[in-house]
């Protein structure tokens, strides 16, 4: 059983290394995600953000502008996930609920 686990680890590693040979070079400015227009002629999102963040929101830090303005819905869902985690911890480990359960 242990041998199968080790072999599967090595197999996954070799497969990922084979896949990494087709990735673009590191720091390549001409890669597909870094261009201004995509293959079908629409503007690429990150280039649009770099050019228009200061004009739209008066904010020099582009990451903040993306996080709270352009993609605010994403951040809202993420915050709901954090709040759900807090609620789950509260429900699993709270003391008052346990006392109530014991007295019953």
């Amino acid at each position: 059983m242990k041998t199968i686990n080790y072999l599967s680890l090595v197999a996954v590693g070799l497969l990922l290394i084979y896949a990494s040979l087709g990735l673009p070079y590191r720091g390549d400015s001409d890669a597909l995600v870094n261009q201004d227009t995509s293959l079908i002629g629409t503007p690429v999102a990150s280039s649009y953000y770099i050019q228009n963040a200061y004009k739209d929101a008066n904010t020099p830090n582009i990451v903040t502008a993306i996080l709270c303005d352009y993609r605010g819905f994403d951040t809202l869902g993420e915050e709901v996930v954090i709040f759900t985690a807090g609620i789950v911890c509260f429900l699993l480990l709270n003391r008052e609920r346990k006392i109530e359960k014991k007295q019953r």
């Binding site: 590191r26 990150s46 020099p60 582009i62 993420e78 954090i82 480990l93």
Partner: protein, 122 residues
């Protein structure tokens, strides 16, 4: 050949980290060790996204007056940064839920070893 290695060596380090995290998750018997392996796995995924965002001879994504933003090759791609920023904070919240479950398991079965846990659950 040397150019190819210089362009790809960090992907191989990231794959090595991913394999280490996967090894911790499937080979270790202690549940806390499995959780540490999951943290390493998650870190390697975040590192892969950040590593794909860099551009040669570009600066950090905070606009200054002296560097023009009309040419987008002057600033690093900011979109993966924003996505991975949320992923890190979601990571600590999910780890908190895992801690709550581990504490409840220990209170009930008095062990965190996987095999003993399965035996005592029967």
């Amino acid at each position: 050949m040397l150019d190819f290695i210089a362009g790809h060596y960090d992907y191989w380090f990231i794959i090595l980290l991913l394999i280490i995290g996967l090894y911790g998750m499937i080979m270790k018997k202690n549940l806390v060790k499995k959780l540490i392996g999951m943290t390493i796995f998650q870190a390697s995924i975040i590192l892969f996204y950040i590593s794909g965002a860099i551009k040669a001879d570009a600066t950090v994504p905070i606009l200054t007056d002296s560097i023009s933003n009309a040419d987008t090759a002057n600033y690093i791609n900011p979109l993966p940064h924003a996505l991975m920023l949320t992923a890190i904070v979601v990571g600590v919240a999910t780890v908190g839920v895992a801690f709550a479950i581990l504490i409840q398991l220990y209170n009930r079965y008095k062990t965190l070893n996987e095999q003993e846990l399965i035996e005592r659950m029967k």
